[in-house]
Symmetry: C2
Subunit: 369 residues, 2 copies
Amino acid sequence: MSDGLKMSRRIRRTPYTNRIEKAGVRGFSVVNHMLLPKAFKPTVEESYWHLRNHVQIWDVSCQRQVEIKGPDAERLIQCMTPRDIGASKIGQCLYITITDVDGGIINDPVLLKLAEDHFWLSIADSDVLLYAKGLSIGMGLDVSVEEPDVSPLAIQGPKAEDLLAKIFGKRICDIGFFKFGWIEFAGTKQLIARSGYSRQGGFEIYLNGSHLGEPLWDMIWETGQTFNISPGCPNLIERIEGGLFSYGNEMTRENNPLEMGLGKYCKLDGSIDFLGLKSLQKIVSNGIKRQIRGVLFEGGRCTTCSIPWPIMVGDKKVGDISSAIWSPRLEANVGLAMIDRDFWNVGQIVSVQMPENNIANGEIVELPF
Amino acid sequence: MSDGLKMSRRIRRTPYTNRIEKAGVRGFSVVNHMLLPKAFKPTVEESYWHLRNHVQIWDVSCQRQVEIKGPDAERLIQCMTPRDIGASKIGQCLYITITDVDGGIINDPVLLKLAEDHFWLSIADSDVLLYAKGLSIGMGLDVSVEEPDVSPLAIQGPKAEDLLAKIFGKRICDIGFFKFGWIEFAGTKQLIARSGYSRQGGFEIYLNGSHLGEPLWDMIWETGQTFNISPGCPNLIERIEGGLFSYGNEMTRENNPLEMGLGKYCKLDGSIDFLGLKSLQKIVSNGIKRQIRGVLFEGGRCTTCSIPWPIMVGDKKVGDISSAIWSPRLEANVGLAMIDRDFWNVGQIVSVQMPENNIANGEIVELPF
């Protein structure tokens, strides 16, 4: 079942892994030193159509929480991000980038504000905990930085709301997009957010307490039968079509938030102070040199993009594709790519250089596809 | 070949991955967001005997380097480790732990001193780069913290020295254990250390320059034919027998260096200052509560230990096994375990609780096995 990935304690199982295995998982990835299920249905395409039409249950425990708590919590977080978090309210989720002094992206978590002095960073694949610890120790801040026993479970797809309302009551329908509320489960209060790594709608339950993982899974699974629930995972076709980025794929420390089209989340007028402010101001004043775009390209079903694929205009390399897959809906390959300024306009004709001299024609398109 | 692990750019390929695939790799792990080959020969036992008798070439690029350079380099590193690095010399490798304020282990890298103000930390599986960056920014140190394009290639086994002497000349024989020197390759100077993650002897070439990966592999591979060279990887049987620890398996942030038997590498007399000094002093004065030990146990060939296995004395849980495997040499299972003080004496009879109610008799033994 998982011949290709060698297991050990270091690659942490989740509270749901036993259920995932019973559900017939066919492959994993590793994110934040933890298993992320990556394949269930015979094909990613079947799973894609199911996600668009029904409801899926995803083990996204690897979205680990970095809990920042204490009098200096807000100060520490603001120092790490160009987004103005001062106006955020309790119960709000904020998509932020965490940046280095040079403006390079260290992570792109979702920030959850639990109280004025209490936050969770729901992280992508890098040890934000260590960065936050280092900063707080070095700056002598009065704050604790820990990883709580919280393992998000995502319920995604158009039937997610009906399913969860049936289990937890109609009150969850009042939760707005990128807001969170609380549900009762097994005598505990659990955080539920209207969010998730798809464009099909749904919720994420930030389960606090590993021992509750299997009962929670089972309850949703059983009630989900009448909604045609299926086990699933972030779907590569759906995420690329939806223009959802993946840290480590579309962006690394070599990229800044402006290149990722996240200028609207960067407060650069000096009204807030954060690491990287000066660098980002300089990048803006010099002009952004490249930016993320969609690429729609031919050449039949492309293979897995595990190294960047050069994008050419004539003999000139103008960018790289970082993630790509065949879209059964668009009947073409869809890719996410960082493209040089002179060539990033929608409609620009390009060619994509895949491995083994496989070259395909394509064009730059808007995101989402 | 790697059905179980879903590939993407985020899980970085190495300069040797093409060669590894050609050599018939049968599985990977992921360390530091990078592929680590984990299986070649039909069985880990065949590979074990080969490693003990011949020579193997290992892609250990995932041992990423955190380069710390500048006037405050030594100060930053000393602040992260309880080992006294003040007396270390250029050309020396030092095994160190990096600790948190509470004494918890954040990583256990090898420190290489390239110059008085220039170090590499050859890291285990956690983003030390982010911890070091956070600390240096927070403390306002004059130092750069980067990941250079360095990808270690290990040559391990009793024939490693003869093979490398044939290629790079007899001078490599003068390099002492845990020391490094320099070799010429393709017009470049490359660092070579007498070190590696086995007890069978050998070297690690810290190749600087990904474009040189395949030529270096090919040169060693071709000359290696007369030495019966084989592709390999850290061998679980050999590493457990040898008492070599794996960060994330035997130790996490929940453990301190004293529990890992690394008291000799902790300078706690106040002559050096580091994060965690007070915590470690307190742990010593209170008495160490548990420590790493070997466990030799029956029950036939054990399965993969991917969650800690409880160790019992009667009805009392006295520890956990974190890594275990069948040893064909000892004809028993060998495990590494954290054991409570009252039960850690050699000869203590225990029972090991494996999954599915598989209980085996065992005893505490010295490391290495």
